[in-house]
Each structure stands twice: as C-alpha cells, then as structure tokens.
Amino acid sequence: MKHQISTLEETQKLIAAERILLIAGDEAVLAKLPKGRWVGGSTPYFMTPGKGGMVSRDSLFVSDITDAVATASIKKYTADSLPQVYKDCPDNGFSYIIIPALSSAHMAFALNAPNYESFGFNPLIGWIAAVHLDDLDKVKPKVFNGETGEAIEDGAIVLHAALPPGKVAEIGIINPFQQGPGDTLTFEQDGFSAADVLVNGQKQNFAEYMMKVASERDDSNEALVEGQKRNLDEYMKEKNLVTKLQLPLVADYYGALVNISFFNRIDKDKGVQFYAPVFKGVKYKLAAPLPDYVGAFAKLLDAEKVQEENILFSCNCVLNYLYSNLENKKTASFVGPVAFGEIAYQLVNQTLTYLQIK
C-alpha cells in the first residue's frame, strides 16, 4: 500500500493508470478528478507521512490499494439501503465506507449499524466526510463515486474489496482515552442528543449536569491552528463548538473503549448533542483528562505492534487533531484523512481507526 499527499496532477496520472485509489481532499479538488477506479471524501485535514498533521485545500491524500486487493467494486447506498452494507462485502474481503457528516445516511448508520444484518461478518472500515471548520455552516461534506463522477451529499459510497488467497483484513482502534473515575451515566433512549441523563441511576437535566462538570474543569490550553498559536477555548467559541468539554463520554464495550464526543454548544432547553449516538442500556463515564495525547498515543502504539507495511487505511478525528494539537505532529505510521467521525464496524469518535492486511 502506498499513502501519500499528492497534487491534482499527480492524482490524475494515477487514475489514468487505472490504479484503485482511496482519496481524501477538499471538495473543489475532488470534483476536478476524472472518472476512474476511486472513491473519495471531503476533508482538508490530514495526517501525512512527511509533515504529520496538516491542513490543505489544494492537496489530496491518496492511498493506492491496487496491489493489496484481488477485486474491487464501488457501490452507492442511501439511508434506506445501508442495512445491506455488511451483507454485500465479499467473503475474505473488507468494505471501505465514506458518509457525509450530518446527512440522513450518517444518522441512520450511526443509530442502526449494530443492528444491521450480518454486522461484523466482514470488516467495515471508513470515515465521516468533513469540511473545513471555517465552512461548517456554508458547505456540506461530500463523498464521491469515482466510477460515475457523482458527488453525494446524502448517502454513502462503499468500496467492497476481496483479498488474494491467504490474506486477511483486520480492523484495529487506538483510543488513548480511558473512563474517568466519576459518575456512571446512562440514557433512556438511543440518540444523537439527550435532554436527560441518569446519573448513577438518578434522572437529571443533562445540560445542567454538563455545565456543572464544565465549570469544574480547567482544561483550556493552547494549540497550533493552521500555523498560529491560539487559545483553544477562544478558537472553539469562534467556531461555535463546545468549550471545556474536550473529553468524550466513554463506554466500555467488553474491553473496547468507545467514545461519544460532544457536539455544538450545550443548551439547557435543547439538551446535549453528540457526534455519535448514545445507546440505551450502555453505561458511560466521562473520560479521564489526557494531558499528553501524543505521548499516550505513542505508548499504545508500542503495545499494538502494528507493522507499517500492513496498514491499508487509517484515519483520525478532527477533535483529536484540534484538542491534541496534532498539526505538524506525527502519529507514527498512521496517516490518512482527519474526519468528523471514524468507522470501525460502527461509528466511533475521537479514535484512531485502522485496517491491516496480513
């Protein structure tokens, strides 16, 4: 597998050579690519092999997977046809999915994927397409079907791949967050937002609870944002994002820690919104503070023993990018798009996800 930051012209040449490509980049650049054997999603944020974290509206992040797969087919899904996605994956293969953020397909997948038929029967890896944070209210994230040239604002694009005999695909996640020692939080229904929460079994207004938690925290810090040192609290306020709630909710799924990130400002009347849904019956805790993301990540990486040459795809979360100040910093051999959500069988947040071919 070859992963690289490419110019439009370099990528056009790869497409002309009929390479099978996973592409990420700004919508305007993706729209200029010719038809071919590729799928794409919008984001201007990347973890790159050379510079580490970077923002670019001109460059494309390109993974050439031609030599790693036996066959590949591209299929578009709607929110209604997404329940077929796990069934459509070929045996001894994997599926790579991109969904535009905040679309009905995003919501449907996030809420229902664990209940889709054949969940987990084959690896499903992918990401939620993004936009530059300056464009949050102006531009919609998009995914692209390279075979047809179609740009999709609502739906999903999936590349289903079969592997050569003797090879297997395996998904991993690296989540530096741990559950904190505080209250156990549960919810009475599934959803991307919650008006109420059960705090150690006692029902409370969730926004009031979180405002109290936020007022007790002192986790403001400085970060390098597009080359400028910024107070992260001020920057997030400008972008109308949550301040002082940088730490996600964390659920323990039989030893796999799954994050739910906070989205937008907390409003006492409208409740608390998330980047991924909370589920009824699952126990959550607020994450423990993580002062050194890169250091914590490096320790976990050593434990994972992942071989760089085996990584077909990886992606990280824009919240990790911002909160952990990843611009110009490297997360070892894990490179790829920085997204508004990551998919490792199901939607996860603030988590590095990857697919290995062994």
């Binding site: 969940f119 987990g120 998904i171 799924y253 030893g255 796999a256 799954v258 019956g281 199901q346």
Partner: protein
Amino acid sequence: MQVPAATNQAWSDIITAKKTYALKFLAAKILLGRLIASVNLDPSPDNVQACAAQLQGLFAKNTAIPSAKEDLATIFG
C-alpha cells in the same frame, strides 16, 4: 477450528456475564457490548438465545482472523 454451535452453554455464559474473558477481536467486543446491554434489559431465555446465536454467528464467519482465532481458543481451549 470448528466453532461450537449457538446452543453451547459457553455462548450464553458470555452473554449473561456469568463468565468473562479478555477478548481481542474488535467486532466481538463491540457486539458483546450491545448484546450484554440487551440481555440486561431483557433477560428472557429467548433473548439470551438470540444474542448467543448472534455471537456464535460472528465468530463462525471470522475464523480466519487471527484475533478471532485467539478468542475461540481462549473461550473453548
């Protein structure tokens, strides 16, 4: 290895948390998180058996994946 049938008691014991294991296969852990929550809300025998069948089906389809193989060895020896 041959994956034991869904009626094998070991699957139900995992679903009902009578026995716990340190598993490695990510899909199994994610599925188990949901299935155990489901059984906590509805501990009826029918639901336990349906959840056990889902877990068994997941492992049966993933016997080639190294972490799933390790988990089967952990559960069934």
